[in-house]
Amino acid sequence: MEEYSILVEDLSKSFGGFTLDHISFKVPKGRIVGFIGENGAGKSTTIHLILNELKKDSGEIKIFGTDHTDCSVKEQIGVVFDECNFHDVFTAKNMEKILSGVYRSWDSSLYHQYLKRFGLPSDQPVGTFSKGMKMKLSLISALAHKPKLLILDEATSGLDPVVRDEMLDLFLEFIQEEDHSVFLSSHITSDIQKVADEVILIRQGKIIFEQLKDDLIYQYGILKCGKEKFAAVSPQDYLIHRSTNICEECLVNDKEAAKQKYPDAVVDNAALEDIMLFYSKGGESCVD
């Protein structure tokens, strides 16, 4: 039985000045996988390739074990982009007529339940909705055809914390089924830190890491020490180092060990954002 909802192997794509360079990763069933990276790192390109909206140069993409170019596999995928892609003149009822005529497994009562739950009017044109309402409608429309995989491309950007929290709740509900998965690309690392099971970091078209979120949050840390003390820090004990005007900072992947070995230094917890900044802003990296 297929254990991955998305399996990407050696995927490459070049265009303009950008290259996605032989990336590989997996999204297991039953998991929420966060896909983080700076703007322009390749997140949206990767998602467009998975959905076959862009043609890949090389590599393999499988969705539930089927090649991604088979368009029937999209019955099982619900997609939400960073903007609601419904015409301003359409109402929620219009959208239902459209989508129920496209997806075989459209569940009308589920759609209306969601509309009611989020207080979305069914007869008002989408153009009159606030951004939060539009995104909720997009998400509801993706959920109402009962997909097994949710793909979200920056879907929580630009939303206030209340709406974001409601959406994150919906993801956690969606995952209650063991064969459902969520692939969520975002630059709002706090959202990913909240709900993701695994995190994939992409930078300049390359995958930097694919880790369990708990490992990142509980084992990674930031070691801070003075410039002189830094000379005593062995390069094998950290991943990346950067200098500020005041001190030296290192990203370590075993903060307990760092605390014990360097008791004079400060070893802070590392949030996902800190880790991403370390990898993005650079500094010297040490291959562990």
Binding site: E53, C71, K74, N85, F86, H87, N94, K97, V102
Partner: protein, 210 residues
Amino acid sequence: MRGLIYKEVSVFYKSVDKKMFVIASGFTLLLFYQAGAYGGMMASVMLAMMIGAQNVMSFISDDKARWQRYQMAMPVSSFSVVASKYLSVLCTLGFGIAGSIVLNLISSICYRSFNGSVWGISVFIVVWIPLIWTGICLPCTYWFGVQSAQVMGLVFVIPLFYLVKYFEDGIGVSMMADSLAPYGLAAGAAAVVLFAVSLAVSVAGYARRK
């Protein structure tokens, strides 16, 4: 696919530009007055062109909503997407036929003249012009974008106006109806063939977008 057909038809009538509608209505009234008993037929020509153009203009709404990328995530083949558009064009012909009948009715009542062949030609025109118009412009949209289709549309309109002018100045509108009639069958067949070939070309254009 029926969902997409519904969407295309809905966008067609929901995205009618109010300003264009008013201008076109003004023009139609002018034609009515000028063309007398043939007002209904001339107005049908206007209506036919509006329907042809509006079928292409609806792509602008799609672009505004960035609908295309959402559509690409749907479990529909390139063929289904394009075929839905073409089938929706056929649906819009219904609006045209209804409109033409109404216009000719008004014309007939106002000028107290009922000419069966004028009615017949009006209905033919209101089906034929949009088929040709969309047959030429839709592949342009799928290959080169809406702007190119709008330019094509203009290119198509100009000879049409000259044709009407030629008959107006020359042998008169009444003769236009009679002289064009023999070409009807050939023209009709040509329109159908063009429409079918256009569909194939459009599918190729849409599929290659990646």
